[in-house]
Amino acid sequence: MPIVFARDLSKYIRWKCIFSNLSFTVEKGNTVLVVGPNGSGKTTLLTLLALLSRPTSGVLRVFNVDASSVGRSGAASVRAKRIGYSLQVPVFFENLSLLDNVVLAGVLGGLSPREAKSRAEELLDLVGLRHKKDGKAGRLSGGERKRADIVRALLKEPELLLLDEPFSMLDPEGVDAVKLMLRDYLEKGGTLVVAAPREIDLFKWDLTIELRGCSPA
């Protein structure tokens, strides 16, 4: 059973067509690259895969859950347990510490607070943020926020990891650190979907989805 099954997928936002007639399948362990220019709908596609929104038409099943009919609570359960999502522009609870922000995601994902804290410190160490774990998230730089956001998405070891432009704000050291984490994640059997504005030479992609707007009706 594929992790993601999409057929003739279309999405409109306020009568504006974002993309249309997308069909693809993502199997467990696949690496998928979603590419397209700005405004082509990469992030929108990721929110669909994360069950945060519903397709306008077509069929989309994620973990065999129908994205068109699943309720908000049902989608939240799937997302909490099985999907990790790193936003294009990371959002944090600014007044909480970095560690609290990451641990909270783990707790929501079903980890115990102790387990979440231990794993968060380990991953933050891996991306060079351990020394900032007790500072407020609001004081992190752009690159640090991006790294922390990916850590947060990875913390619960999701079956499906969605990364929206993961390297856009990172310096070379940051890119290397994230690559290391992602390789480790894939070796463990994870499924990765990355959205980027252009081709990136990161892995051997099993599937590349090019978004070029809407096809004529």
């Binding site: 936002i13 974002i18 700005n38 405004g39 709908g41 990469k42 992030t43 929108t44 929110t47 994360a50 945060l52 929104s53 908000r72 609570s73 939240a76 359960s77 997302r79 909490a80 347990k81 999907i83 999502y85 936003l87 294009q88 522009v89 959002v91 944090f92 609870f93 007044n95 909480l96 909270l104 995601a105 707790v107 929501l108 994902g109 607070p113 947060r152």
Partner: protein
Amino acid sequence: MNDSVKNSIFFIFVRDSMRIVSIFIILFLVLYMASFSLGIIVVGIRDWIEASSLSSEAYLFMFKKTTPSSWLEVVDPVALREWTEEVLSRKIEGPFSVFPPCSVDVLKQSDFVEDVVPIYVIRASIPLERPVTITYTVSDAGVARGSSRNSSGLSNVVTMTLRSISEPLMCFDSGKFNGNVLFALFGFSSVTAGRFPQNIGEVVVSRELSERYGFSVGDNIIVDLSFHASLLRHLGVNASALGVDENGLVEVFASFKIVGIIDSYGGIIGEMYIFSFCDYVFPVLDKSLEPVLGLGGYSFSSGDVWPAYLVVRLSPRAFSTGTSLLEALDDVKRSLGLCGVGEDEYYVFRGSPLVSSVRERLKSVSSSFQVATILSWSSVVFAPLVLWALLLKHKTRSLILFEVLGAKPGSIMLSLFIVFCLASIIGMFIGFILSRVFALILVKSVLDEEMARIVVASANPGLKPLAVVIAASVALAFYITWRHVNSMDPSLITRSEE
């Protein structure tokens, strides 16, 4: 969703909510001050406009306690009523003055009334020389009600009650009020039978009184207004022209028509506020005045009827809000105390500009506060809600983050809602305390401290309205939160890109 998750979400919002509480308090105070100032301005403008178009006449009738008698058994009630109305009409049109008793006590609201609008009772005492026997309560059928009483021991007290504009059902603008339901801020009161008074001489009675004495709509109550002829000597009026009986009394009886029966003074929560100025004040016959009037030794419990304690025809506008109410009341006392007669039990007070002045001053200050209070308490409800909606709007990305992380909408909503309630209640409480202090300070600049307290207290909506405000706020907040959480649009995340 386990408890730790809920606690985590709640914890985050609680930490953020301290800022919300601060904003609530500041907003409350700002709005309160603004609305208070607006109230003063509005009332001031209204007074100024009305002052230029109204005369300065005032008629004040003072009634004394009624006790049953057999007098009507030998008098045709219809003829009596016609005669009374004729005399009453003649008296109103004539020159008026005050017939003061020997001493007057001013009982302030704070002495005996808790949590009600101001009621000022001026009690005038005078020694009796003989029994008091004449007063009646009759129906159209001419059946006297009540029980007899030996009047030789009757108290020598005449009571005049001044009630502020805020006392509902006592105070109508006859030009504006035409229905049978009186609307107010927190509810309404309706007559269960008949209508509200619209003309002088009309009264509504409480259901309790109606049931006790069998009053019904259409019944007339005859009230004794007779006074001793000797009182007229001080005015140079020939009392014999008015008709003097063998006891030296000028017999005057007023007929009041019962036009409606009410259940209570208040609306659904028992308190009401109306803006309109009164052209007429109608008596409401209600046993609820017993604790007030009973302080002077009276009691309704024996089955007595106090059919009317005050009827005022007011249209004067000669007042100054800056004058102390206590000073004005003292004026009344002094004026009443000047009279050296005071040896009869019947008094009719008419055309007392001093009393009307007191009333007008009280009305002005009190209504200013009521305007301010209504506006400010309305703001208490709506300002936090508007603020809350704005905060939710601006925190959308944070809320969506919770969804991205897998939190269920119900948990988010519950946390938001609890935080809102905490913030609102804390904010309202602190704002309420501070606003009262502010109001006291402000009013003390125009009134003395004691009266300022009374006036401020009169504008206090009390616990029940406060509870209603909080309940309404909580309910609306729940609705707003629910709507917001259920309409969180994840596409907001994408808009930076698209």
